[in-house]
Amino acid sequence: MAALLEVSNLHAAYGPTRVLHGIDFSLEEGSITALLGANGAGKTTTLRALCAMVQTSGEISFGGARIEAKATEDIVRLGIAHVPDGRGTFVNLSTEENLRLGAYVRKDKRAVEQDFERIYAYFPRLKERRHQQAGTLSGGEQQMLAVSRALMLRPRLLLLDEPSFGLAPLIVREIFDIMRAINQSEKVSILLVEQNAAMALDLADHAYLIETGRVVLSGSADEIKQNDAVRRSYLGY
């Protein structure tokens, strides 16, 4: 299968602080790929670099075209939806307005209206709360909202930054199940960043292990699961 996303020799820095030191990875169309690693390894920065939210150098191609010189707003228009670190909720807007913003760049207005129902079918809780101010939703509901906002784009590629962060295990399970369903039924490719390596490896087809800004290990999820070092350091058994 062709690679949907190809990253090579990606460097990124926040001012003078260099965070990524030449990362290479690729993601196959239709797959779920996980980036694993400890706190501060550079996982979030990698996602931010893909969306031009940090200073970067290196090559990023998406669907065969180079995108590293594009602005964030234009990368969205290619079909890359980013569920950011901290969820990025528009706290003063209603749940429904948050979702509507997710479809901001879409031109097929009628299909957008139908997509509300599609999203509400995945997350009935959001339908109950659709007129509520989004800042008053619980953490889990806001995470559902962040994922839903991204799905309203009808993306080709979904970037998920720590969807499990700060949530109860049951809610994490629910969100992960829905991610799997979306990947399978709607053929959305997913790039998942997670600290919870066990859950991420259950969901993902491929995984890359990042340590201090470099890829140190890559392979299918099963291979990574079997790796002794990963088991000891990240899976804890």
Binding site: C51, T72, H82, P84, Y104
Partner: protein
């Protein structure tokens, strides 16, 4: 009783002007957390443009709408050309830029049109309107009407259009807005354009009352600032209510308590009072920072 009612109504009429300018201030404040001190001078300058058009023989309403469009473009251009380069500059630098704009537009108007006052026409009839047994100035009723229409249109724009929603989103969460594809820089420019257009309407409505001169908005900006603070400087609805409240209070106090000479001082007392007693105003959010 008649006199009292007339005072209240006159207060509502000027209050509408304060409300409009206050709303323009709040719109910029919400997006940038800065008060645009040049807002009043922009409105004054736009009113001069309207005067020029009418003087050249254009019918009033044609000149009115053309001026609104010109003011909008002027606002957008100022944001793109002058404000944008200092976007990331420290607060004080931006404030100095705003004050610079204030002085530039004030002097420009004085240079082009001279400092002598001009009569600005009202589109409404000269004869007072009588409702029941009361008489009201037609211009006052008209100005309140125009203000309410402008406020209604703005509300509908921000509440019901995708662009209005995008502008609200960009003002409160620029990062997330970029991630859904909103061009945040342009939303800011659009905000400046809208604020400038609202100011132009306010200027054209107040000019027949205070007469047109380069300093006509100085006092009004103070009242508008007081109005925005009373309502809560980050609450558009609050700013509008604050505008009407300040207008009525100012008029009643001027007529019955402190006299006309001290009216402007009332605005300053109100500003200081609100900042000391209730900095977030009537409807503003109380900001709590975890330390």
């Amino acid at each position: 009783m008649d006199a009292f009612l007339n005072q209240v109504f006159a207060g509502l009429a000027t209050g509408g002007i304060y409300a409009s300018v206050a709303l323009a201030l709040v719109m910029i404040y919400q997006a940038t957390h800065l008060v645009n001190f040049a807002q009043g001078e922009l409105a004054m300058f736009s009113t001069y443009i309207a005067w020029t058009l009418i003087d050249a023989g254009m019918p009033y309403w044609a000149a009115f709408f053309l001026t609104v469009v010109i003011a909008f473009v002027l606002g957008v251009l100022i944001e793109r050309i002058i404000v944008r380069p200092v976007e990331r500059a420290p607060v004080l630098s931006v404030v100095v830029v705003f004050i610079g704009l204030l002085v530039i537009f004030n002097s420009l108007a004085g240079w082009i049109y001279s400092y002598t006052i001009k009569v600005f026409p009202s589109p409404f009839p000269k004869e007072p309107v009588h409702i029941g047994s009361h008489f009201f100035s037609a211009h006052q009723i008209g100005a309140v009407g125009v203000t309410l229409v402008v406020l209604g249109l703005l509300y509908a724009f921000f509440r019901y259009t995708p662009l209005g929603l995008a502008m609200r989103a960009a003002a409160q969460n620029p990062d997330s807005s970029r991630l859904v594809g909103i061009r945040v820089g342009w939303m800011l420019a659009l905000g400046w354009g809208l604020a400038s257009a609202i100011g132009a309407v306010a200027g054209m409505m107040v000019a027949p009352v205070v007469y047109l001169d380069p300093n006509m908005m100085a006092g009004i900006l103070l009242y508008a600032f007081a109005a925005a603070l009373v309502g809560g400087v980050d609450s558009p609805g609050g700013a509008v209510l604050g505008g009407f409240l300040v207008g009525v209070l100012e008029n009643l106090l001027g007529a019955y308590v402190i006299g006309n000479e001290l009216k402007l001082a009332f605005a300053l007392v109100l500003i200081v009072g609100v900042l000391v007693v209730r900095p977030s105003g009537l409807f503003g959010k109380v900001h709590v920072t975890r330390v």
